[in-house]
């Protein structure tokens, strides 16, 4: 059955280390609508990356169920319906930027013959141009700056055309100025393609700037404390980001995190 939602139902993850057990995630319940920009926000160790990896099918949950538009993570992955954008760009150094963003066309070709795949590959030249990389298509990753490499990694995700993009702190290694401009680029491209995005960050500013909803997570053990609606207008222009409403939303998200964290400690 096709569904237009991502549903996380009673998810838990426990790591076994020798005789002891570490509970990384406990009783995670959430529903994300198609086309939403969702951010998992919280401090280190709250399980946000673990949750993202479970959604991607890169790790398995100990308990609970996940439905990604009606499919399990493994099924969605087999259909190439998940685009993964990691912390580092993870570009292949021997391929040009254009061939790097076309990676999904070279890999798992059998997925394109399966009926039911909702993936529709995007035009790589258009996506690269939207991300300001039109003049660097033939360049090798080593010839680009860190920010440009990260933009290429985002382009790879969009070009794959998967309905779901999972982004694991993709800007964490960049300097503040680069991060600022790349966030705006991401928003522009996302507005155009409207994929469902689940984005991990530990920056309240970034979470509010990008998202429709922010999932605030608290550690020990990792759990969802609350989900905050970010009802700020789109597109998120500089004016929106410098508005009082935006600042208040950032403060609110931080406050909720402190409140949730304090209760747990």
């Amino acid at each position: 059955m096709q569904s237009s939602r991502i549903v996380l139902h009673k998810l838990s993850k426990t790591y076994k280390r020798g005789d002891s057990e570490v509970r990384a995630l406990v009783d995670v319940n959430a529903t994300f609508e198609e086309g939403e920009f969702i951010t998992l926000f919280g401090p280190s160790g709250c399980g946000k990356t673990t949750l993202l990896r479970i959604i991607a099918g890169l790790e398995s949950q100990s308990e609970g169920d996940i439905s990604l538009f009606g499919n399990s993570p493994a099924q969605a992955s087999r259909l190439k319906n998940i685009a993964w954008v990691p912390q580092s760009s993870a570009l292949l150094p021997w391929l040009s930027i254009r061939n790097n963003v076309l990676l999904s066309e070279f890999v798992n070709k059998r997925a394109d013959r399966i009926v039911g795949s909702t993936r529709k590959a995007e035009d790589p030249d258009e996506v690269l141009a939207d991300l300001g990389l039109a003049d660097f298509k033939a360049a090798l990753p080593a010839q680009l700056s860190g920010g440009m490499r990260q933009r290429a990694a985002i382009a790879r995700g969009f070009v794959q055309g998967a309905p779901l993009m999972l982004m694991d702190e993709p800007f964490s290694a960049l300097d503040e100025l680069t991060r600022d401009s790349i966030r705006l680029r991401l928003l522009d491209v996302w507005e155009k393609h409207r994929k469902t995005v689940v984005f991990v960050t530990h920056s309240a500013f970034e979470a509010v700037m990008l998202s429709d909803r922010v999932v605030v997570m608290t550690p020990r053990p990792g759990r969802i404390h609350s989900i905050v609606d970010i009802n700020l207008p789109r597109p998120r222009t500089r004016e929106v980001l410098e508005s009082r409403e935006f600042e208040e939303k950032v403060r609110e998200v931080k406050h909720i995190l402190r409140e949730g964290w304090g209760q747990d400690e």
Binding site: R53, A56, G57, L58, S77, R78, K80, I82, A83, W84, P86, Q87, S88, A90, L92, P93, W94, L103, S104, F106, V107, N108, A111, L140, P141, A142, R156, Q160, L166
Partner: protein, 249 residues
């Protein structure tokens, strides 16, 4: 136009020239004062120019065995490394055997191989192959395993299969390691080939050295030694050229 005469370029050229010059002077001093230890360079050069055909024909025998051994040892090492990356059991089983092979002196294996295979090229090829095997195995294994976890995640999120991960990720990513291994292996194969010719044959650079020892012909001995050293350098140079052509990142 780039300036070739920068300070660093001149230093890079000058430093080894000074060392070679000092070595030459030291050599000539020993050759003139202790004649039984080293012959003068002029005599070595004259010996080579007197019968280059003799030296090149013997060198070719050695190089052939080294190259065939390098090819067989190198390819076997790469194939085994690929299997060892995918099968933990094979890795556990083969590493101790490879280590044992690596610590066994090649000179000790040579007579056994001559007894087993007779007085032909096979024992020399096997020794060269064994010498080439270990450096290639270790480098190939390191290269094939040196895949960043985050890149692997990108492939796994798309459900890439093992073959795709191997050909699209592991193999191209391991090329720098394979070439480092090839440079070590081809030198080791050359050394193995020369050393194995110390017995069981009258052809090759190793045999030429042994012959020179028998007749106390220092000039012949040093021509053979220099020729094998220069050949190793040329072989490393050829591998480096292929590396530069293939690895552009």
């Amino acid at each position: 136009m780039t300036n070739l005469f920068t300070k660093s370029n001149i230093l890079r050229l000058l430093a080894p020239l000074i060392v070679f010059g000092l070595l030459y002077l030291g050599w000539q001093w020993v050759a003139l004062n202790l004649k039984s230890i080293l012959p003068p360079f002029g005599n070595i050069t004259a010996e080579f120019l007197d019968r280059p055909g003799f030296y090149f024909s013997n060198l070719w025998v050695t190089v052939q065995a080294a190259l065939i051994g390098f090819a067989i040892g190198g390819i076997s090492a790469i194939v085994l490394a690929i299997l060892m990356v995918y099968f933990d059991f094979l890795r556990a089983a083969i590493i101790p055997v490879a280590l044992l092979l690596n610590v066994t002196p090649i000179v000790a294996i040579s007579p056994a191989l001559i007894v087993a295979f007779g007085f032909n090229a096979i024992p020399h090829i096997i020794v060269a192959g064994l010498a080439a095997f270990f450096p290639m195995l270790i480098n190939a294994m390191s290269g094939l395993r040196a895949v960043e976890k985050e890149t692997l995640d990108v492939f796994n999120a798309m459900s890439a299969n093992r073959t795709e991960i191997f050909f699209r990720l592991r193999l191209p990513g391991s090329l720098p390691y394979l070439f480092s291994g090839a440079k070590l292996s081809i030198t080791a194969a050359m050394v193995g080939s020369v050393v194995s010719e110390f017995m069981g044959t009258s052809k090759g650079i190793g045999a030429t050295i042994v012959m020179a020892t028998t007749f106390l012909n220092l000039n012949q001995m040093w021509v053979a030694i220099f020729l094998s050293a220069v050949t190793s350098l040329v072989l490393i140079g050829v591998v480096s050229l292929v590396e530069k052509a293939l690895i552009r990142w």
